[in-house]
Subunit: 253 residues, 2 copies
């Protein structure tokens, strides 16, 4: 049995709490948040606290709190030499105060409090300062049904950057398509199966192999017509830049 | 029962053939391709032909052939006043020779011959020159289990453009993430659940509502660090342009 104290009550902490409570070999000893109101509705199933002085002993303390507060909160933890992990994709493991044993337990996924999510599908990126702690982090991930990957801080920051491309930037392309189609009274629903299939394709095929379309074929006539169709200068720039990028990747320039 | 003659043997024609053969109320009268070799393996289940002179009567002729050849082939069809449709997202309905009744049956999806695909998930965009032909095209889609949408040529071309954004450009962002993570020996598999979830999220939520991340928050510190991490000038440009685009969409500039 792995005992966990969870700190924070945001998107990640809430999903982690639900996943931990469901797992057979994990027990949530306490759930801390600086304001109790965010977690008080869970008080009948777990001990909720809002004072660090009340923290009990546990195998691991998981701080799922805002990036900017990780360092500060780690300093004021009222104990030493215990195992403390943060869940951030971008904060260094060394931002955790060194009076404790340090770790990272970064779930590479996009979480919103209300959106349901199969936690077992979330890859967990793990880092430790003391090698002997690797196993407990792996066990934690495994007990959630998750795959875990040992990743150093530089790699984790690279993943965080890559995540911006496949998540935030991709979502902005969806947004632009939404704007473009809305302007001609087209139901955005028509594009949804294509969005799904595009994401599906690269699950078993490299994005390189999955590429199709006018830029890859260097189909100048279609590219020209598309540029004429686009009304916004900003969308035009994005169209041109990504077309050039595809052409470069596929040896068309 | 709707009788169909299929022309062409590429990605779309092959998927259409399979979907038509499975449908209860559709019969494929003939399958034409200029070179028989591409379809000869189906000769035991359907009449395959490579000469236009052999074309029989049918309710609809579907030309799933390369954009550039649609006009030319429609001119040499050896009959008049029958219903002829093409399957292109970008070719005008008026590119079909007017000696026949003209239509478009555009399946908005990305097809590869080998990739399996649930055809009933494909939205079909329909256009006709004679209103009375709308029903047969709708029936055809419905018999495949597909949703159909009445769309004019301008709207269809806008959809085609939007599809480039959500498919080709999105796939290029996956490719860039693949390059960035490869360079640090990171397994691209770690990013796959995030790719799936990003596409999943906009099935029930607008891309606007689904956006998260440093650009939306205008988190200058993270954006600066990301730009420092990116090695390729081209990737930097894409990062900057899409970050600006997100900021603009979400009122951060
Ligand atoms: N959201 C994601 O998709 C995602 C994915 C992977 C990793 N992460 C990482 O996970 C961590 C948490 O992210 P999140 O999205 O869950 O954040 P969030 O929803 O904004 O929640 C932040 C939590 O941190 C607490 N907090 C902020 N400052 C604090 C302080 N000085 N002392 C104590 N608690 C403080 C907040 O407490 P109050 O409730 O009192 O405000 C809140 O419970 C971050 O490191 C983030 O980078 C997020
Ligand atoms: N692929 C997609 O994802 C997709 C999606 C929606 C719509 N579409 C549209 O569907 C149509 C077909 O696309 P596709 O991807 O299936 O193309 P494809 O795989 O390249 O196949 C093209 C077919 O057209 C035939 N063809 C080319 N020139 C011809 C000519 N002059 N006379 C007779 N046949 C000719 C080819 O015959 P041979 O076998 O003899 O070369 C081949 O069978 C296009 O209008 C395309 O825009 C494609």
């Amino acid at each position: 049995m792995i005992s966990v104290v969870l700190l924070g009550a945001g998107n990640v902490a809430t999903h982690l709490y639900k996943a931990f409570s469901k797992a057979e070999n994990i027990t949530v000893t306490q759930w801390y948040n600086r304001s109790n109101s965010a977690i008080s509705s869970y008080a009948n199933e777990v001990e909720t606290i809002d004072s660090l002085a009340d923290l009990k002993e546990a195998d691991i303390y998981i701080m799922a709190i805002s990036d900017d507060s990780i360092s500060k909160l780690s300093k004021v933890l009222p104990f030493e030499n215990r195992l403390v992990a943060h869940t951030s994709g971008s904060v260094s493991i060394h931002d955790l105060d060194k009076k404790n044993q340090r770790a990272v337990f970064y779930p590479l996924q996009t979480f919103s409090k209300d959106a349901d999510l199969d936690f077992s599908e979330v890859p967990i990126c793990i880092e430790v300062t003391e090698k002997r702690n690797l196993q407990i982090l792996k066990d934690l991930a495994e007990n959630l049904g998750c795959k875990s990957y040992k990743i150093n801080t530089e790699q984790r920051q690279t993943l965080h950057l890559s995540a911006v491309f496949v998540n935030n930037f991709t979502n902005q392309l969806y947004r632009i398509a939404h704007e473009i189609s809305d302007a001609k009274s087209i139901n955005f629903d028509i594009l949804k199966p294509l969005i799904t299939e595009t994401a599906q394709k690269v699950q078993n095929m490299s994005p390189y192999m999955a590429q199709t379309g006018p830029a890859k074929r260097n189909d100048k006539k279609t590219i020209k017509r598309h540029l004429k169709q686009i009304e916004s200068e900003e969308h035009k720039k994005i169209y041109k830049l990504l077309t050039e990028s595809i052409k470069k990747t596929h040896g068309q320039r």
